[in-house]
């Protein structure tokens, strides 16, 4: 069978896992049933546990699904401590269902797979040695990649049934009231972990900072928590986010950013009360700077900024150019600190942020979104998962979710080194072209032919050349040459879900 973006899907696997192929970006109005977690009733006076070993012995059994959050990013000390104990306890056949996997976890995951401790993985993404390991067939069962919104949907549906969630926090009290804003290793919003806290059968908090009861503000509440474990350190604050965000000086990125800004300001969405989401890349940060000036010049303010938040965005909040920041995660210390001090920066969970099966998610209200791409093809399909060698090295993140915004802009250089970004067909379809509106490269822009309205308003702007995306693809190929097609085996190493839980594409084992 094929998904609507013309990708062949393995029939046997699709049947075995009861999957349907991706059809449409429209979610419609289905009636759905959410699940509820088990509750182990307690007055809460006995939640403090001395050791990870003890809590693992009490909670984790063969065949369970365990979860973690990735808010500590590469400063995470929790994942490796817990997994070490689980591997050493000889527990087998676990499903690992974290919000995402960061580089610091890679070696431990590989060890756990080799030991038979982990036999299934669902994640937003993976990179480095783990992506390489999986792409070379290191895990027998295919990894299931889900966007942040889709993970929330899958948890609410029961597609992901978390038995035990291990959630590191920089501050908690003895009953488990916790937040990500106070303590040593602070990361700000607990957005992704809030799903685990709400839906896991057993919730284990790990913290290096047990504070007086009751701890407020309580992002995770005592009503959700079964155990609180004191550890030496939950994370390295220096590695959680980039320190001070520096604006790029790369002329190529600045040119792209300036053209992205032109697209936004000439679009019908740039008016008082508009909303936007930008990413954390160099060009995206530069866009925020251009946009700031455009908002001042035109006396326009934004009603909200959404998603992964950086300091340039919270600066706009402080200047009054953005009224609210809706914050599912913070990419730098400035943004994390701002969540603590600014009441207009609202912590939101992954469901509120982006879950399609909802009574309205924030992404549904989004006007302008700027996203990146490893590859984009002439059908506007975007790959953020596999690299130029076909190996897994990315994450869906909120890409599919935010792309449902009214004006979805992909900002990407035409070529990176010798690798074309604009290609005839992406290696892996993650976000379907139907939800992408404009591609901005340093040479010019391409508008999705379905958006005749945008073609009309963006076609005659000085300094903003408009090409057919096929022409941009040819320009790229003329510069770098025609690559030899990548070689894969027939074995499926990963499935890419669309945000509604259908399968849009697969990743095959690479042939070296």
């Amino acid at each position: 069978m094929k998904s609507k973006v013309n990708r062949e899907l393995p029939d046997e696997l699709m049947q075995k896992l009861d999957y349907k192929p991706f059809e449409t970006t429209e979610i419609g109005h289905p009636e759905i049933q959410r699940v509820a977690p088990k509750v182990h009733v307690s007055t809460g006076d006995d939640k403090i546990v001395d050791s990870i070993k003890q809590v693992v012995a009490d909670t984790v059994k063969d065949g369970m699904t365990i979860s973690f959050h990735h808010h500590f990013r590469n400063g995470d000390f929790v994942f490796n401590q817990v997994m070490r104990v689980i591997i050493d306890a000889g527990i087998k056949n676990l499903t690992l269902a974290p919000s995402s996997l960061t580089g610091v976890m890679n070696d431990m995951v590989i060890e756990a797979i080799k030991a038979g401790t982990i036999t299934n993985i669902t994640s937003s993404g993976m990179r480095g040695s783990l992506g390489d390991f999986v792409s070379h067939g290191g895990l027998e069962n295919p990894v299931i990649f889900r966007s942040h919104g889709n993970r929330a949907r899958a948890i609410e549906h029961g597609d992901i049934k978390i038995d035990v969630a291990f959630l590191g926090v920089p501050s908690a009290d003895r009953l488990g009231n916790a937040n990500g804003m106070e303590g040593n290793a602070v990361f700000g919003s607990l957005g992704y972990a809030l799903m685990d806290a709400q839906y896991a059968d057993q919730v284990v908090l790990l913290t290096d900072n047990i504070v007086d009861y009751p701890n407020t503000p309580a992002s995770i509440k005592q009503t959700q928590v079964d155990y609180v474990v004191k550890v030496d350190k939950v994370g390295d604050p220096d590695k959680i986010g980039s320190g001070a965000t520096r604006f790029t000086k790369d002329p190529k990125e600045l040119k792209i950013a300036s053209m992205v800004n032109d697209v936004i300001t000439h679009s019908p969405y740039f008016k008082d009360g508009f909303s936007f989401q930008t990413g954390s890349g160099g060009a995206a940060l530069a866009v925020t700077r251009y946009l700031r000036q455009a908002m001042i010049d035109n006396q326009i303010t934004a009603s909200f900024a959404l998603g992964g938040i950086t300091k340039p965005t919270t600066d706009l909040l402080n200047e009054g150019l953005v009224k609210k920041v809706m914050d599912v995660q913070d990419f730098d210390k400035g943004a994390a600190d701002s969540m603590h001090t600014n009441g207009n920066q609202q912590e939101i969970d992954a469901s509120w942020y982006a879950d399609p099966d909802n009574k309205g998610a924030m992404v549904d209200q989004l006007d302008v979104v700027i996203l990146s791409a490893l590859e984009i093809d002439t059908k506007f399909n975007v790959n953020v998962m596999t690299g130029s060698d076909g190996v897994i090295r990315g994450a869906i993140g909120g890409h599919q979710d935010a792309a449902t915004g009214k004006l979805t802009i992909i900002s990407a250089p035409l070529v990176r080194g010798r690798i074309a970004t604009v290609v005839p067909d992406v290696t892996t379809v993650v976000t379907p072209g139907d939800s992408v509106d404009v591609l901005v490269t340093e040479f010019g822009i391409a508008i999705n032919p379905k958006r005749t309205d945008l073609i009309a308003v963006l076609s005659n702007i000085p300094g903003l050349p408009v090409y057919k995306i096929e022409d941009l693809q040819k320009m790229a190929e003329k510069r770098v040459g025609t690559p030899k097609p990548l070689a894969f085996t027939d074995r499926t190493v990963a499935l890419i879900e669309y945000r509604d839980g259908t399968i849009i594409d697969t990743v095959k084992e690479v042939k070296d």
Partner: protein, 97 residues
């Protein structure tokens, strides 16, 4: 053109290629390292070989560390490395450039 000594051209910067050419008894042997070897390895080796042939080099060992260079860069670095290895930098063979 005869390779008289080992010589290097190019850098390890992004979009460049570093070539080290040294003597060999016969034939051209290329040892290529590149992040884009899977998709452009054959093309890179073809550009190096063609350039060597055009310069009349029939015996050489080439070690190439590619950082995503385009064909024009690969050709230029190959020519520079050969001229250094053949000690002809003072009298470049303009006609093959």
């Amino acid at each position: 053109m005869e390779i008289k000594k080992t010589a290097i051209a190019g850098t390890l910067e992004s979009s460049d290629i570093q070539l080290m050419i040294s003597q060999a008894d016969s034939g051209i042997a290329i040892d290529l390292q590149s992040d884009v070897k899977k998709v452009f390895g054959d093309q890179i080796e073809a550009v190096i070989t063609t350039t060597l042939n055009e310069m009349g080099v029939t015996a050489a060992k080439v070690k190439a560390v590619d950082k995503g260079a385009l064909d024009c860069v690969i050709k230029a670095r190959t020519i520079a490395a050969v001229q250094r290895a053949a000690e002809t930098t003072a009298t470049p063979a303009w006609e093959v450039l």
